[in-house]
């Protein structure tokens, strides 16, 4: 029962997606091109964010912590 509802809901969602993007009026092969392109783009965005965001966050954290906390010490240490 629940599975059926979920399936209906997904169908409805897909229908809305078709209508809002306008690809409802396109021919099936055009729809699949659009879907593929969109899917690839979204997948790439997710993948890049998965790969690069943690690194950037770590770097940023290091940078800011360096700014606030240990900086004077370390520069002094370096100069010596």
């Amino acid at each position: 029962m629940d599975v059926k509802n979920l399936k209906e809901y997904l169908c409805w969602l897909y229908y809305q997606y078709l209508l809002i993007t306008g690809i409802y009026v396109l021919e099936p092969w055009e729809q699949s091109i659009f879907n593929t392109v969109l899917f690839t783009m979204v997948a790439m965005v997710i993948y890049t964010s998965y790969v690069f965001v943690p690194i950037h966050v770590r770097l940023a954290l290091e940078f800011f912590s360096g700014l606030c906390g240990g900086q004077p010490e370390s520069t002094v240490a370096l100069m010596n």
């Binding site: 209508l19 809002i20 993007t21 306008g22 690809i23 409802y24 009026v25 396109l26 055009e30 659009f34």
Partner: protein, 568 residues
């Protein structure tokens, strides 16, 4: 408003400025201004001074004038543009494929030997037809095979190549509720008095005489029709033509010419636009139903005269329509007439949709506002809509009609109207006037008004965005997104309701809409069925865009902020 020194001179002037300060058109709260102004007027105007009375339009309306054009929600506008963007990209892709002969081109295009000539199929309209309209073409031009009354039978057709060609299956889609015909009073019938009378006249007169009125085509039926029309409109004289479109496009050139100025509403019908252009007069366009804009143009025209020579204009003609068929709005006739009198201009009123459909006696906008038809110089209208016939008329002073009889192209060259058509008009018009001894006509006018109010109210309550005046039987419902135009037409037809959907060339690109035309022939049950289906499809397609879920009722107290806003 920019003027400030003069508003303080006299009380009447203050009132007048208040008039000008209205932000007409699309603010959706127009009614409040009028309520306010009615009170304002009592405060500041001496009731017995005529001039002031004219200037304050609060007093010009005998009934509430509610017209709303709800703003497009931001998100919807953005998504609509995005949708068109995506479709345009695919359009370019398809054009590219056609250019490289990867795909067969089904539509007219530049031929090989015309390569170096001026391109014919490259403008946006052609691109639009080829790549957008073609994909949803099945919602337009549906062939019918019965009288287009309240219900209609459609010829079933299918397309196997995405709407490039259609195959008829040989089946008929029966009893589709017809929400698309301009059959306001339900006179599109093949039974009943009108049909019988027309049939009788056909046997007696035949179907036409193939000659012009000025030669051998003038029949007693035509004379009778013209007398009847004049009586119906309350004008001195009237004249009938075989085609409504030509009535406009051929008579305006007879009325104005070089050295004349035409002030035309921006949403005027193509026939009026064509007539104005053919006349060779200067044309200036004012914003839709916007009296400030009209007054500004009038004042400028009188102050500056013709360009370069600064001679006064020979004539100034204001072109307006009674009901605008795409917006469902009603012309602000009392104000137009006040302006016309103030600036001594002429008024040409096209009542194509309003004749028969408006007013307690079905006599159009003049009747609706309770005005005098002698204040309108040229009363034009068509028999195509409410009367279920074809043709157009012009009514006015006797001199005007006599002049047109000898000078108008469509009077001189066009063949006279077909007698059965004339008879259909005569019978239906007599019915509306009550001259046939029954109250059928009156009941129909009443029924139409009821149906209109009911249908509009229900749609608004459901949360759709509806344009136009509360009393207008043309009900445009906004769809916005390109895919929803096609989807709405198809889904409605699946549920056995025929609707008209309107898209780009006829409307601004993002304001696609469905247009329902209410008829007196629709019964309550039909309207209820239609409404429940519209609601269902509206939920399916997510069309209930309106954010004014709670309707401002008629007696909502005015708030001063609205007035304050309108001042600037």
């Amino acid at each position: 408003m920019t003027e400030s020194s003069e508003n303080k001179t006299a009380n009447g002037e203050v009132c007048h400025r208040a008039t000008n300060g209205i932000k007409p058109g699309r603010n959706g709260l127009v009614k409040n201004h009028y309520l306010y102004q009615q009170q304002q007027q009592q405060k500041c105007c001496h009731p017995d001074e005529k001039v002031h009375h004219v200037a304050c339009n609060g007093g010009l309306y005998s009934r509430p004038f509610n017209e709303s054009f709800e703003e497009t929600p931001m998100l919807v506008a953005v998504l609509t543009y995005m949708g068109y963007g995506i479709l345009t990209i695919f359009g370019y892709l398809r054009d590219f494929l056609r250019d490289w002969k990867i795909e067969k081109c089904h539509i007219a295009r530049e031929r090989e030997e015309q390569r170096d000539f001026v391109p014919l199929y490259q403008d946006f309209e052609n691109f639009y037809t080829r790549n957008l309209y073609m994909r949803v073409r099945d919602s337009w031009n549906r062939p019918i095979c019965s009288v287009p009354g309240a219900k209609v039978d459609l010829v079933e057709r299918v397309s196997h190549d995405y709407n490039w060609t259609f195959d008829y299956t040989g089946k008929v889609v029966k009893d589709v509720i017809n929400m698309g015909s301009y059959n306001y009073l339900g006179f599109a019938e093949n039974t009943g008095v009108c049909a019988d009378a027309a049939a009788e006249v056909t046997t007696k007169y035949g179907i036409g005489v193939s000659s012009t009125r000025q030669e051998m085509g003038n029949l007693d039926r035509h004379e009778e029709l013209e007398k009847l029309v004049a009586k119906f409109l309350g004008v001195e004289s009237a004249m009938a033509f075989g085609m409504g479109f030509a009535t406009n496009s051929m008579n305006i050139p007879a009325l104005t010419g070089k050295g004349c100025l035409i002030l035309s509403d921006e949403l005027n019908h193509a026939s009026l636009v064509l007539g104005a252009r053919l006349s060779g007069s200067t044309i200036r366009v004012f914003k839709h139903n916007n009296m400030q804009s009209l007054e500004k143009l009038l004042r400028d025209a009188i102050v500056h005269g013709q360009p370069r020579t600064h001679r006064p204009w020979k004539k100034i003609l204001i072109l307006v329509e009674g009901i605008y068929s795409m917006e469902g709005s009603i012309v602000r006739l009392p104000e137009v007439i006040a302006l016309k009198k103030k600036y001594k201009a002429y008024l040409y009123l096209d009542e194509a949709h309003s004749i028969g459909a408006l007013g307690p006696n079905g006599r159009g906008v003049v009747d609706y506002f309770g005005l005098d038809s002698r204040d309108v110089d040229i009363m034009m209208g068509t028999f195509t809509k409410s009367f279920g016939a074809a043709g157009g008329y012009i009514g006015g002073k006797k001199e005007l009609i006599d002049y047109l009889r000898t000078h108008s192209h469509s009077a001189v060259y066009a063949t006279s109207m077909s007698p059965p058509v004339v008879e259909q008009i005569i019978t239906s018009m007599k019915c509306i006037m009550g001259e046939d001894g029954t109250t059928i006509g009156r009941d129909r006018v009443q029924q139409l008004a009821e149906n209109t109010t009911y249908f509009r109210r229900k749609l608004q309550e459901m949360g759709f965005i509806i344009y136009g005046n509360d009393d207008s039987p043309v009900v445009p419902m906004m769809l916005y997104m390109p895919a929803k135009i096609g989807a709405f037409g198809r889904e409605m037809l699946k549920r056995n309701i025929g609707v008209v959907v309107v898209g780009f060339p006829a409307t601004p690109i993002i304001e696609s809409r469905a247009r329902f035309c209410i008829s007196a022939a629709h019964t309550k049950e039909m309207l209820d069925t239609a409404l429940s289906v519209i609601s269902e499809v509206g939920d399916l397609l997510q069309l209930k865009y309106s954010r004014h879920r709670i309707l401002p009722s008629l007696d909502r107290p005015f708030d001063e902020t609205t007035y304050e806003e309108s001042e600037d």
